[in-house]
């Protein structure tokens, strides 16, 4: 009698306390779903929702369903900190994916490092995955272009291409087009500032001179003044670096000022959202931008290993959410799929998942590019993730 009671209690105990352990693989997901960076967080969140369904519909990983716990960091660092702590403490997640912006990701880094949990950021800055002293060494270096980091933060990875990669792609294009003098116009918020820094750093390497350097605020409604100055400068091309509505306004102003055909507008990879072309109306015609392949999946060479991945993601996403696919959602896709692969291989082992990412993600086709993670590169790809595209009749075409 007594024994059966003990057995019963043990069973109850197991069900209550152990079951969450095997009931699902828990993945924490932090994104700027609301607030000033919500256009990043929105597609990321959608992608996470969609992937959870996909994976669980295919009876999960090793027969175990996954659970993606989604938290909103609202574009605020303090919220990102709390969200991360909640995920780690209360939800006991194996991995934290996020957040959408560099600032939030930077605030999350120390937490994940302290509890030794893998974090995969969807933001771009190299400083997220590179230790502070390494960043300092690279910045102090006298070489005219960006030093390559020699070490990376042990627990931190990111799936978005570094800004430097997009800058390099643009400058390579400029070189090919014999453009030697460019004007830059950037937003004075995280993305734009980082872009501006890389644009200035890398210009000498490609023999390019920056003849005008203009700024605007993230909530500005008109950039005519800045573009007027650029129009009067000897620039052969203008490079805009921003995300969200401001890049559309820049495009409209550029078009209205009659700069099309005279000073071509090159947008950052942040322009990678079809709705930007629609919002700009006809103004976006002729805009050139480095883009990840997911945006024009149909046009990608079928021999490219990315092709099946991006075709599936793009069609499914657009079908499900009735909105155009963006590269940002793609970052979420890559992060989750990498974790899913790692879980398949090693199971619920935090260190194992980390090691898998660092050593086994080789020639791994994602939406952003073909990833090759290594102990000295926690981003996994560079300028090769991009192609230069041009807006022609409202569609992306390979830039000639």
């Amino acid at each position: 009698m007594k024994k059966s009671w003990i057995a019963f209690l043990t069973m109850v105990f197991c069900v209550v306390f152990i079951s969450p352990g095997w009931a699902a693989y828990k993945i924490g997901f932090v994104a700027s779903i609301t607030g000033p960076a919500s256009w990043l967080g929105e597609p990321e969140k959608n992608t996470a929702l969609m992937l959870r369904e996909w994976i669980n519909a295919a009876s999960g990983i090793r027969g175990v369903p996954i659970e993606i716990v989604i938290e909103d960091s609202k574009g605020m660092e303090a919220d990102a900190v709390l969200a991360t702590k909640k995920l780690i403490e209360r939800d006991n997640v194996l991995v934290v994916i996020g957040s959408s912006t560099t600032g939030e990701s930077m605030a999350m880094v120390p937490i994940c490092e302290q509890v030794e949990t893998l974090m995969i950021s969807m933001a771009a800055a190299l400083s997220i995955v590179t230790p502070d002293d390494e960043m300092k060494r690279m910045e102090a270096s006298k070489k005219p272009w960006l030093e390559v980091p020699k070490k990376q933060r042990y627990w931190i990875f990111k799936v978005a291409p570094s800004d430097a990669s997009a800058v390099e792609k643009i400058y390579i294009y400029c070189q090919a087009k014999k453009i030697k003098r460019v004007a830059i116009i950037t937003v004075s918020a995280g993305f734009g500032v980082e872009g501006r820094r890389q644009l200035k750093r890398l210009a000498p390497k490609y023999g390019i001179e920056i003849v005008a350097d203009e700024l605007y605020g993230p909530k500005d409604t008109d950039m005519t003044a800045q573009l007027t100055k650029i129009k009067a400068s000897p620039a052969q091309a203008v490079i805009n670096w921003s995300v969200g509505p401001t890049q559309v306004i820049v495009t409209k102003n550029w078009s209205d000022l009659g700069m099309r055909g005279k000073i071509p507008l090159i947008q950052s990879h942040g322009f990678g959202n079809k709705s930007n072309i629609k919002l700009a109306g006809g103004a976006a015609e002729g805009v050139i931008t480095p883009l990840g392949r997911v945006l024009y999946a149909e046009k990608v060479d079928p021999k490219n290993p990315q092709k099946p991945v991006i075709m599936k993601y793009k069609t499914e996403y657009e079908k499900r959410f009735k909105s155009d696919v963006s590269t940002f959602g793609g970052h979420a896709y890559d992060a989750i799929m990498m974790v899913a692969d790692a879980l398949k291989a090693v199971g619920a082992d935090k260190k194992g998942i980390r090691d898998y990412l660092e050593t086994k993600i080789r020639n791994w086709p994602g939406t952003g590019g073909i990833y090759n993670m290594s102990p000295t590169d926690h981003t996994g790809f560079g300028a090769d993730g991009f192609e230069m595209m041009e807006v022609v009749h409202g569609e992306w075409e390979f830039a000639k």
């Binding site: 609301t34 607030g35 000033p36 919500s38 256009w39 929105e42 004075s188 203009e214 700024l215 605007y216 605020g217 909530k219 409604t221 008109d222 005519t224 003044a225 800045q226 007027t228 100055k229 129009k231 009067a232 969200g244 509505p245 559309v248 306004i249 409209k252 209205d256 000022l257 009659g258 709705s275 629609k278 919002l279 700009a280 109306g281 909105s323």
Partner: protein, 297 residues
């Protein structure tokens, strides 16, 4: 491009931005004149104006001349409902509480807008299609004329309303001494309601005319409110023409600083000048010391 045409371009840009600040500022002013409340949800009226216009003309395909007034009426109704359900029940609370209520309302409005329209920005086609005009080497978009013209019309209409009509005069009486005003037979409650509806309508007009130029999304309101507020205070709250000029001054300062000095400092320069002016003329450039003393806040 000569320096002259460059400066001309900056001036036009400044005037366009300034028009919006003026209209937002006027919205502040109308409510302030009737209640001494600063309605920090003013920017959300602009946002609603833009987004409802998009809904009516782009989604429902209403023609411009139907969509425009309809949008204004809808937003005026929002303003009236806001006054009735949030401001009126608190008429005995402190002014600060009322101002915080407007902040809470602005958060709520943003929530509603996000619920309805999502987070994506929306655009409108320009009212008159066509390529920009060149004036003295400066490029002026056709929509700019719409913005400037609308502002001008609004300024004329509000001046007439407050200077010539009984309702308008009665409204300004309310803030100086609501008690006396009600003894004079002015229906204070109605005046406050009208002031909220009017300023909501003004916000809506601003939202409608700028959306073709600078898009509109649910989160646009707070920044516009802050700029409009600065403009209003710079010009002198309580003085209609002062507020309008304040808007243009802030707009011009911003675009000239961006163009001629450094675009990174454009917000700061406008503010430093604002602080400087407030130090020497605490009631704003065109404000009257006497009036600001009488007001309880």
């Amino acid at each position: 491009m000569s320096l002259f045409s460059e400066i001309l371009q900056f001036v036009f840009t400044g005037l366009t931005i300034g028009s919006i600040y003026s209209m937002v500022g006027l919205g502040f002013n109308i409510i302030y004149n009737a209640t001494t409340i600063i309605n920090l949800a003013q920017g959300e009226f602009v946002m609603f104006g833009g987004l409802i216009m998009v809904f009516l003309t782009v989604v429902l395909k209403f023609p411009l001349f139907v969509g425009f007034p309809l949008t204004v009426i809808v937003v005026m109704a929002i303003g009236a409902v806001f006054e009735r359900f949030a401001i009126h029940p608190l008429r005995n609370a402190s002014l600060l509480t009322l101002i915080i209520v407007t902040i809470a309302a602005s958060i709520l409005f943003r929530g509603i807008a996000m619920f309805i329209w999502g987070k994506d920005p929306y655009s409108l086609p320009p009212f008159t299609p066509g390529s920009p005009v060149m004036i003295g080497g400066a490029v002026i978009m056709l929509q700019t004329f719409w913005v400037l013209g609308t502002t001008l019309a609004i300024v004329v209409l509000t001046t007439l309303f407050f200077g010539k009509t009984i309702v308008g005069k009665a409204m300004s009486a309310c803030s100086f001494n609501p008690m006396a005003a009600s003894l004079m037979g002015i229906h204070v409650r109605k005046m406050i309601l009208i002031s909220f509806a009017l300023s909501a309508g003004l916000g809506a007009v601003a939202g409608i005319v700028i959306t073709p130029m600078s898009l509109m999304d649910y989160d646009r309101g707070p920044m516009l409110a802050v700029k409009g507020f600065c403009a209003a205070v710079l010009g002198g709250l309580g003085v209609g023409y002062g507020v309008v000029l304040g808007g243009f001054i802030v707009g011009l300062l911003e675009s000239l600083t961006a163009g001629l000095i450094h675009s990174g400092f454009k917000d700061a320069v406008a503010l430093v000048i604002l602080l400087f002016i407030l130090c020497f003329k605490p009631s704003g450039i065109f404000g009257s010391e006497e009036v600001s003393k009488i007001k309880k806040f």
